[in-house]
């Protein structure tokens, strides 16, 4: 690593901008530092600029402005094949005219390695992804999950320090996807490689990442570890995009230290943690996670009247849609335990929350 590049920073975006047509910026002033060995996910809806960032890092797109550094060295002018970055593509991009073994040997052959060495590395990586017996198969003879493993193995086989993954699990069914998430995570940990992962699936991001960069509109909305992101979203977009979330619109009527007093559009006034709500008089949006709602407990700091509109039985918990302050899309997760009384549709019950769990964010 080059000297002076800070504490173990491996990949660095410095003020990167990208425009395809000279009119619209797809990526606006991106600054991101990724540490060696880190698993960073770029998460965002489609069109948010996350894939463009990945392609710029891989070298398939050039940055319109700014600098991308790898190990402290600018790679703006290095062609993709010299960057030594492993990449797993959305639809795997396994070469259909080559066998699994030939696909894996390809990056080693273009690096002019000896036959024996290639053979040994291919066998080792195949074992790593538990595909030892599939060397002579063609990609078309493999299932989706197996193809996924081979694609992963191909990105790993030439021992790149940085692996990019572009929605690699998008084509798999739910069960397989979850299984692969753990496997990728384990491989990442055991090899100590740096991974930049792109997905639009927030649960996948939460499961796997060390840190998540939430993209929207070409800008990183928040960069944080999964827990922080979930517990302490910095703005309304992140709050809504990560996990399930109840939002209540209102107006800031007073500030007291870290808390804000907010008058809801439906009438009542509540206390919330002032995160990103501006000064008194601004519109704000309150964000409360469904599982943080205390139901039937009139002793909570913020208590509102709620009417049960719909109940969905989900085994471990019951999902309850309620009308609160004139808004009938308020969701409460009620644990399926003896401690909770059964609710009935149409029933009116008090709900509440701890002030720290309710975050006053920017109004959208």
């Amino acid at each position: 690593m080059a000297a002076g590049s800070g504490d173990d920073v491996f990949v660095e975006f410095e003020g990167v901008q990208k425009s395809y047509d000279g009119v619209i910026l797809v990526v606006k002033d991106l600054n991101l530092a990724i540490r060696r060995g880190e698993f960073v996910t770029m998460l965002g809806p489609s069109g948010s600029g996350k894939t463009t960032c990945l392609l710029m890092l891989a070298g398939f797109e050039t940055a319109t402005h700014g600098n991308i550094k790898l190990g402290g060295v600018s790679i703006n002018n290095i062609p993709p094949h010299k960057r030594n970055i492993g990449m797993v593509f959305q639809n795997y991009a396994l070469f259909p005219h080559m066998t699994v073994g030939e696909n894996l040997a390809f990056p080693l052959e273009v690096r002019k390695l000896g036959k024996a060495e290639i053979e040994q590395k291919v066998t080792r990586v195949l074992d790593m992804v538990q595909m030892g017996g599939f060397k002579s198969r063609r990609p078309s003879q493999l299932s989706g999950g197996q193809q996924q493993r081979i694609a992963l193995a191909r990105a790993l086989v030439f021992e790149a320090e940085l692996i990019l993954m572009d929605e690699p699990l998008g084509a798999l069914d739910k069960q397989l996807r979850e299984q692969m998430q753990y496997e990728i995570k384990h491989i990442h940990e055991s090899l100590g490689i740096t991974v930049v992962y792109v997905t639009h699936d927030q649960s996948e991001a939460l499961t796997m990442s060390d840190r998540i960069a939430v993209f929207d509109d070409g800008v990183i909305q928040q960069l944080a570890d999964p827990a922080t992101l979930y517990e302490r979203p910095e703005n309304a977009f992140v709050a809504r995009f990560i996990g399930e979330n109840n939002t209540l619109g209102g107006k800031v009527t007073g500030m007291n230290g870290v808390n804000a007093t907010v008058q809801l559009d439906g009438g009542p006034t509540v206390q919330a943690l002032a995160v990103n709500c501006g000064a008194v008089g601004n519109r704000t949006m309150l964000s409360v996670r469904p599982e943080r709602i205390l139901i039937g407990d009139a002793s909570a700091p913020n208590v509102l009247e709620a009417r049960v509109v719909e109940l969905i039985y989900l085994g471990d918990h019951i999902r309850c849609r309620m009308e609160v302050a004139g808004d009938d899309s308020f969701i409460v997760k009620v644990p399926n335990s003896h401690a909770h009384a059964a609710l009935n549709i149409g029933e009116v019950t008090p709900i509440g929350w701890v002030t720290e769990d309710c975050r006053a964010l920017d109004a959208v």
């Binding site: 960057r83 492993g86 593509f89 070469f95 390809f106 990056p107």
Partner: protein, 500 residues
């Protein structure tokens, strides 16, 4: 499962064996499917298979002689073709000649024999006129009427003509001659033409296929990778040749490539012709062409005005003269005007012989013209299958290869190119098979060395009326195409071919 069903063949609920039941069910659906294709099948049979088969049969069956000269046919077929023709054969011949003349069919029989032995047509028609007055011994009478009756090879040729089912035409299509005694020999060398033509047809088709591939591949790649709007525009340009008549396209190439045509004009105007010529001279010894081409102005001047130009040239300082101008001046002062003009003419004739004269190249009315025009006309047949295959190759493959460390070239060659092989196979097959049967274009721009086998099939169909030979040539062509198809299947695999 009970014991009863686990033993013996499986049966349905009503006890019929499962297999038979399945067949019954399949038969009905097969019958229906056949019923649907039957009209098309009948159509193809009636207008394609039957006429072609009937025509192909002409290639080895020609009963003309047997039909009109039955008596001599019978004896000729018994004759061994080696021994002296007998008096009996001569008598039968005379009887046939008399009858054929009366029926006015003598010309048909004569035409048939003439195909085997030139000059026998007039021998037959003239002898037939005298046949009615002939008396025994008939052989002597025949020889008296026309001396060729005395030649054994004439009788052998007649025996070949009398054999209705004959390999003679197919052998002739391969420059072989089938003789009356059953032997097969090479056609005399100066008449051997068909093998040369088949080889040339293959050569031209192959070059055209390769040129189409070389020119079409990048275009197909562009089409598959450009933005949709630009690609559509380009596609129209590719398809444009399809919408113009083949005659118009070929004639346009004549206007482009002829000596006074657009390409030559541009080259002469820009001086590019001299550059190309110098380049050619680097690689080959063109002999006197070097002199002629480098001073075509002086040569033309001498040829046009003679003495005046020579005197102007002589007046120039020696180092201002070109080599050939100096040569002409030397001859002029040594041997006089006539010798100098002759030298100029010889230089010019030599330049013409190499396809270059008056600052211009010969690019049409020869093989070059055929190749250029055919490549242009057949190009879409290469581009379209290539395009449709390339369109299905996701760009991710190239990116993947590059991310794995492959250079642009390696990524293209090892990853992209192999996946276009089905399109290359289909395009090459289409172009090659179309090229092999091409005839209008070579006829118009082929000159002497750009003719193909189809031009000769056409010649025998329309001019010489030797339809049997035309059928045999067509048959040989068909066999060659089928062989190549088989070879392709063995090497590449037909199922590996993708038309789109």
């Amino acid at each position: 499962m009970t014991d009863a069903t686990s033993k013996g063949p499986l049966t349905t609920a009503d006890g019929t064996p499962l297999k038979r039941k399945l067949e019954q069910a399949m038969f009905a659906s097969r019958l229906r499917a056949f019923g649907l294709v039957a009209p098309l099948l009948a159509f193809i049979l009636a207008v394609f298979v039957v006429p072609i088969t009937v025509f192909m049969v002409r290639g080895f069956h020609n009963p003309t002689y047997e039909t009109y000269m039955p008596k001599s046919t019978e004896l000729l077929l018994e004759w061994d073709g080696v021994s002296e023709p007998t008096e009996e054969m001569a008598a039968a011949m005379v009887a046939d000649l008399i009858q054929a003349r009366a029926d006015k069919t003598i010309g048909r029989a004569a035409t048939r024999v003439n195909q085997e032995y030139s000059g026998t047509r007039s021998m037959f028609t003239r002898t037939a006129r005298k046949a009615a007055k002939m008396e025994a011994p008939f052989m002597a009478a025949l020889v008296k009427a026309h001396k060729n009756w005395g030649k054994p090879e004439v009788w052998q040729a007649i025996k070949v003509a009398a054999t209705s089912w004959t390999p003679a035409y197919f052998l002739a299509a391969l420059d072989l001659k089938y003789k009356g005694d059953g032997s097969v020999v090479w056609q005399v060398e100066e008449r051997q033409i068909h093998i040369t033509l088949f080889l040339r047809t293959m050569e031209i088709s192959l070059i055209v296929t390769l040129s189409c591939f070389a020119l079409g591949f990048p275009v197909a790649w562009l089409l598959a990778n450009l933005k949709v709007r630009t690609a559509n525009l380009l596609m129209i340009l590719v398809l444009l040749p399809f919408w113009t008549s083949i005659l118009v396209r070929t004639t346009a190439w004549i206007a482009m490539l002829q000596g006074q045509g657009v390409v030559n004009d541009l080259m002469a105007f820009s001086g590019l012709n001299q550059v190309i010529l110098q380049f050619m001279l680097l690689f080959r010894d063109y002999g006197d062409l070097k002199l002629a081409s480098l001073c075509s102005n002086d040569v033309n001047g001498v040829l046009a005005t003679g003495e005046a130009t020579l005197q102007t040239l002589s007046a120039q300082a020696a180092d201002a003269q070109t080599t050939c101008a100096a040569e002409m001046v030397r001859i002029y002062s040594a041997s006089g005007l006539e010798a100098a003009v002759a030298q100029a003419g010889a230089l010019k004739a030599e330049a013409l012989r190499w396809g270059y004269g008056d600052e211009r190249f010969s690019m049409i009315y020869n093989k070059t013209g055929t190749l250029v025009a055919m490549t242009h006309i057949l190009l879409p047949f290469m581009i379209l299958p290539l395009y449709s295959v390339m369109k299905t190759i996701p760009p991710a493959y190239l990116r993947a290869a590059k991310s794995l460390g492959a250079t642009n070239w390696t990524a293209f060659w090892r990853v992209y190119f192999p996946q276009t092989v089905p399109g290359i196979g289909a395009g090459s097959m289409l172009v090659f098979i179309l090229a092999i049967g091409y005839y209008i274009t070579p006829a118009l721009v082929g000159g002497q060395d750009g003719q193909m086998i189809s031009n000769f099939i056409d010649f025998h169909m329309r001019k010489s009326l030797n339809w049997s030979l035309a059928a045999a040539l067509g048959g040989v062509l068909l066999i060659i195409v089928m062989f190549l198809y088989w070879l392709y299947d063995r090497v590449v695999g037909i199922d590996n071919m993708k038309f789109g």
